[in-house]
């Protein structure tokens, strides 16, 4: 596929690789974690070489994700500061979901919804990491109350996080022309102008 040289660069190769490490480790963690959460998902352990291997591997993938997530978090945190325009966007988010995005306020590189997701995922990741260490018996032996609290927080936060990521993935599929930003790093000018006009003006000078 020959891409338009006038396409806009949204992510460089390093950012994309970082995102895919987070994304792949998240998918592996969600599948293996769900297996231990509800018996209905237990057969997912077969994807990881059986239940014992699933139990062994899961926390190490968690460490990988925590590190990769921290890097991506530090990379993008300044771009995700909330502004009054974001709050206005959020107030009108219902119109957006209804498929009517004509009178949405102008957005920079990220819109209010993306920013909320960014901070929510950051909080989830922090809770997941700390509670995960609490229940990692292969390496740690915390007090029983901490372990019990860790188990509840880990499961509840994981459910929230999986839900947030599902919304994240769906939004990327729903808004056509988005997923390619994570493959090649570029988006069309039309895409940028429609969804992130502030950013479009900033990078094109128009």
């Amino acid at each position: 596929m020959i891409r338009d040289p006038k396409d806009l660069k949204r992510y460089n190769a390093s950012e994309r690789a970082n995102h895919w490490i987070v994304g792949m480790s998240f998918i592996l963690l969600a599948l293996s974690g769900l297996a231990f959460f509800h018996p209905a998902f237990f057969p997912l352990t077969q994807l990881f070489g059986g239940p014992v291997w699933t139990r062994i591997i899961h926390p190490y993938i968690g460490v990988l994700m925590a590190v990769a997530f921290l890097i991506i978090f530090l990379r993008f945190k300044n771009l995700n500061k909330m502004t009054p325009a974001d709050l206005e966007w959020l107030a009108k988010a219902k119109n957006m979901v209804d498929g009517n995005d004509h009178d949405m306020p102008e957005q920079g590189k990220y819109n209010g919804g993306q920013k909320v997701l960014f901070w929510a995922l950051g909080l989830c990741m922090l809770l997941m990491t700390v509670s995960g260490l609490f229940i990692w018996r292969a390496w740690f032996g915390f007090d029983i109350t901490a372990v019990r609290l860790g188990a509840v927080v880990h499961a509840a936060t994981a459910a929230v996080m999986i839900g947030l990521i599902m919304v994240h993935i769906y939004a990327a599929i729903w808004v056509k022309g988005t997923v390619r930003a994570m493959w090649y790093g570029t988006v069309t000018r039309g895409w940028a102008k429609q969804h992130h006009r502030g950013w479009y003006r900033q990078v094109t000078g128009k």
Binding site: K6, A35, F36, F37, H38, P39, A40, F42, T45, P51, V52, T54, R55, I56, V97, D98, G99, D101, I135, R137, A138, I144, T145, V147, R148, L149, A151, V152, A155, A156, A159, I162, G163, M166, V167, Y170, I173, W174, V175, K176, G177, T188, R189, G190, W191, K193, Q194
Partner: protein
Amino acid sequence: MALQSLDILRRSATTTPSTQVRQTIEVAKLIDVTTCIGCKACQVACSEWNDIRAEVGTNIGVYDNPTDLSAQAWTVMRFSETEENGKLEWLIRKDGCMHCADPGCLKACPSPGAIIQYKNGIVDFHQENCIGCGYCVTGCPFNVPRISKEDSKAYKCSLCSDRVAVGQEPACVKTCPTGAIQFGSKEDMKEVAATRVAELKTRGFDQAGLYDPEGVGGTHVMYVLHHADKPGLYSGLPKEPSISPLVSLWKGVAKPLATLALAGITLGSLFHYVTKGPNEVSKEIEDDIEKEDAQ
């Protein structure tokens, strides 16, 4: 352990009923703490019958040896010195799995069939299905299961389910020289306990009683205590044990709620796409860009 399908009441991480057609009587082990002399014959019998040997430890200045339950020590005597009614009392409790009617370990276990509750009340670990996550330890209100450092599997007293299955009493019961450990139907054991408690009361132990805590639905290992009002005296036996509310939340309401929520998001997304259609770049903007390029 002998897998007697018809005798299985519940198995871990299984959402459909286990076999319900055959009903058997509930059994119980009654440990009369007031008759125990702390000889540890029960520990030896347990080790012999199950053919497991805890590593020889070191004497730490008290009689407790081994000092704690382990993957290879499924029962230990716990010795405590206390002063009650102005007299020194040496309280010796044989610690091990209580075989709860509502077992926290089974509730917490994520692996189907790793923990089995038999109709007779015995709660048994099936190590071949154990994945070593330690959730049973998290769920247990009595701090009983231990994870082996060698194989990462969970171990605890099986109430000699293999012996009981063929009509024998557990090894510790068989060997106890003072008759402090008895075994039979739970009903019978309660009667034996009542007789003993009445006797203790006539000897001045006004608070003597049976330990069969309601919070876990009763247990299939019960204690006769001289001070049933203060079980904590017996090396921290919990007064009102129950499955921690945190564990109930985690393994109770959270499971269906989260599963439904995630299913809701999945279906919601699908139907959103189908009903609202994809969000594409508008024709108007496409035309603008084309005009720009034509210039």
